[in-house]
Symmetry: C2
Subunit: 80 residues, 2 copies
DNA sequence: CTCGAATTTAAGTTTGACTTAAACTCATAC
DNA sequence: GTATGAGTTTAAGTCAAACTTAAATTCGAG
């Protein structure tokens, strides 16, 4: 997956624990952990908005893309 | 919703029509239209990756956040 | 060993991404 | 005034997966 979650860096910069953030934005620690480690395949804008709000950042600081020609393939090749 | 879709600007800069992009990334014109006009509440990273791929851009160029204290509210106030 | 933060797995709920299809607007062109 | 092409909208449907709760586990620090 060419989408990488770079939330970790922002968290570190803000010196906040995942637990604190999870509590403040009202998502479960479980899900935030999955999100942080790139184990989810999408995100709701409501969640993204809360993250950006609490972390005072832009979506682009949490999500990055690195070019991968496989992204355009109709069917995914196993990469996991 | 404090998340804004700024895909339009990138499209214009690339001089591509929505139709072309939809065809290249394999999503329906319908959905791309909904996405462009901010009528969806989330996005799959696979779709985001395809957009970034074809438009040669970062997620941050397609999605922006403007601070809104209401984002942290547990329940949404109707704004639609 | 204990405590707190984080991760993982598993099972469940609920939302909504995304589709197809069809009708409609709004241009530009013939 | 009608055809053509891009875009929008609505509506109905499928189905993946976002997100939850709970519990067990790891890991680092005291």
């Amino acid at each position: 997956m060419a989408i990488r979650i770079t939330l970790d860096e922002v968290l570190a910069a803000r010196q906040m624990t995942a637990k604190q953030v999870a509590a403040r934005i009202g998502v479960s620690e479980t899900h935030l952990s999955l999100f942080r480690t790139g184990k989810v395949r999408g995100v709701r804008f409501s969640t993204l908005a809360k993250l950006c709000n609490v972390l005072d950042c832009q979506p682009g600081e949490l999500i990055a893309y690195s070019f991968d020609p496989a992204d355009l393939e109709t069917s995914e090749s196993g990469d996991d």
